[in-house]
Amino acid sequence: MLLLDCPHCGPRDENEFHYGGQAGVPYPAGETTDEEWAAYVFVRDNPKGWFRERWFHVHGCRTWFTVERHTVTHEIRKPG
């Protein structure tokens, strides 16, 4: 089980949290093609390595926050 460092509550077990997927996905600006819209809705990075992602402290303070986690080792670090 991951130990996630909530910015408000401190380190808590993973099962207090809800996973939110890739962090920092921008809403497309201006006119978009179907391809650009599909990419925004359906396509996310899926790296083998460090990944910036969102977590939601759903069973705690209900804060959304960003962490960097390694998708092989599961090591967690504060986002740079």
Binding site: Y19, V43, N46, P47
Partner: protein
């Protein structure tokens, strides 16, 4: 009958092949088998980073069924089930394919409505399906707790009698032996590290064992598809997650069917050897680590004990995880890619084992003719742009 020392050769890669399949799991081996058997294409290599069928093919819970909701899914999974029904004979190998029946339990009114709808949809598509009330469930599977006071009351179940299990290792070995017998090179310990693309056409793969020229390149790498596609400059709508499973110690025969429950996220069968095989839902986060959280296993076992109080003293022998590539609509992605000569077969998520022969069949046909097989056409990458999704989150049976 004496068993041969080796069922396939262990060749070094040659400099060029007509078709290079990336991934030596069930789907890659089935694709090689059908390329040779159905299309006479035998100048083929299957490249496997580790050892043959050592990824998800060795980690799944071996459940086979075709009771999906939508027409497109019913067609491809039913095609696969029909192939399973003849596969032991076709491959001349006992796959221990056992059509013992698959129950999908309903625990609330929503489940009941969804289950009955799915039974009707299945029957309209020629897929065998029945709706059982609680007493009929008890009769079919006596060890399930159907009492009204159960934490997860059993309000009925769908039953596909033609569904069941098979011995995953035997499937891989038989497909590998067949492909090898047709002259296909199965190359283990060979990691693909890049693609050579000229004028938007793939011409070769770079590997840990050198450059291999290829007329066509077919990805069949499950959880690692995104990593490979990125080397070809493609971003695919896939996310890789751990999917955990476990087995118990060996028991006398106690459960002679497959029991699945969407609502409580557990699916159970008893392998021929005697161990109970259970699967969980995916771990929520992206991972390539082939392991997940203990709390996911704990929740799954808690649900299993509510459904099967008789298992309360059974010991867990081991747990593990495989990396599954999940698509946004819980349906696979099969077909051509924006790069000419490069094909993708991915996104089977939590349910790829059952599709092994069907997937190989349509993928081989797609590669051989450079156009989608009719059963694969709805599963093309373009559906995420057109919006023609095939939403199987209900029938996929595992939370995505």
């Amino acid at each position: 009958m004496t068993h041969p020392d080796f069922l396939w050769r262990n060749p070094d890669p040659r400099p060029a092949y007509d078709v290079v399949i990336v991934g030596g799991g069930g789907h890659g081996l089935a694709t090689a088998h059908y390329l040779a058997n159905n299309h006479g294409i035998t100048n083929v290599a299957v490249l496997e980073r580790g050892w043959l069928a050592g990824g998800n093919m060795a980690r799944n819970t071996t459940i086979i069924r075709s009771n999906y909701l939508w027409d497109e899914s019913a067609a491809i999974y039913e095609h696969s089930l029909k192939l399973w029904e003849g596969l032991s004979a076709e491959l001349d190998y006992d796959l221990q394919f056992s059509q013992r029946g698959v129950l999908n339990l309903a625990h609330n009114l929503g489940d009941v409505r969804e289950g009955r709808r799915r039974v009707n949809a299945n029957r309209l598509n020629g897929v065998d399906a029945e709706w059982l009330g609680p007493e009929e469930v008890k009769k079919f599977c006596p060890v399930v707790n159907v009492s009204g006071s159960a934490r997860y009351p059993v309000m009925g179940a769908t039953l596909q009698r033609r569904g069941g299990i098979a011995k995953h290792d035997h499937v891989a070995w038989a497909l590998a032996r067949s492909a090898d017998g047709h002259g296909v090179d199965l190359i283990q310990g060979c990691e693909v590290t890049g693609f050579e693309i000229t004028s938007n056409r793939v011409v070769a793969v770079r590997t840990s064992r050198g450059r291999i020229a290829a007329g066509k390149v077919a990805l069949a790498a499950a959880g690692h598809t995104s990593v490979l596609a990125a080397q070809a400059g493609l971003r695919l709508p896939l996310q890789s997650h751990p999917l955990q499973a476990l087995v118990s110690e060996l028991l006398e025969p106690v459960l002679d069917c497959v029991v699945m429950s969407n609502a409580v996220h557990v699916y159970v069968s008893q392998a021929h050897k005697g161990e109970l095989v259970m699967g969980a839902g995916i771990d929520a986060y992206n991972s390539y680590g082939q392991r997940g959280g203990v709390h996911v296993i704990e929740a799954q076992m808690a649900a299993a004990l509510e459904l099967f109080p008789i298992f309360s003293r059974v010991r867990v022998l081991r747990t593990w995880a495989g990396i599954v590539d999940v698509s946004p609509d819980a349906s696979p992605i099969i077909g051509r890619t924006p790069v000419d000569g490069l094909y993708v077969n991915a996104g089977w998520g939590t349910g790829g084992f059952k599709a092994t022969p069907g997937s190989g069949w349509v993928y081989a046909d797609t590669i051989a003719h450079d156009r989608p097989h009719p059963l694969a056409e709805p599963f093309a990458l373009e559906r995420f742009t057109t919006g023609a999704l095939i939403d199987e989150h209900g029938a996929a049976a595992v939370a995505h």
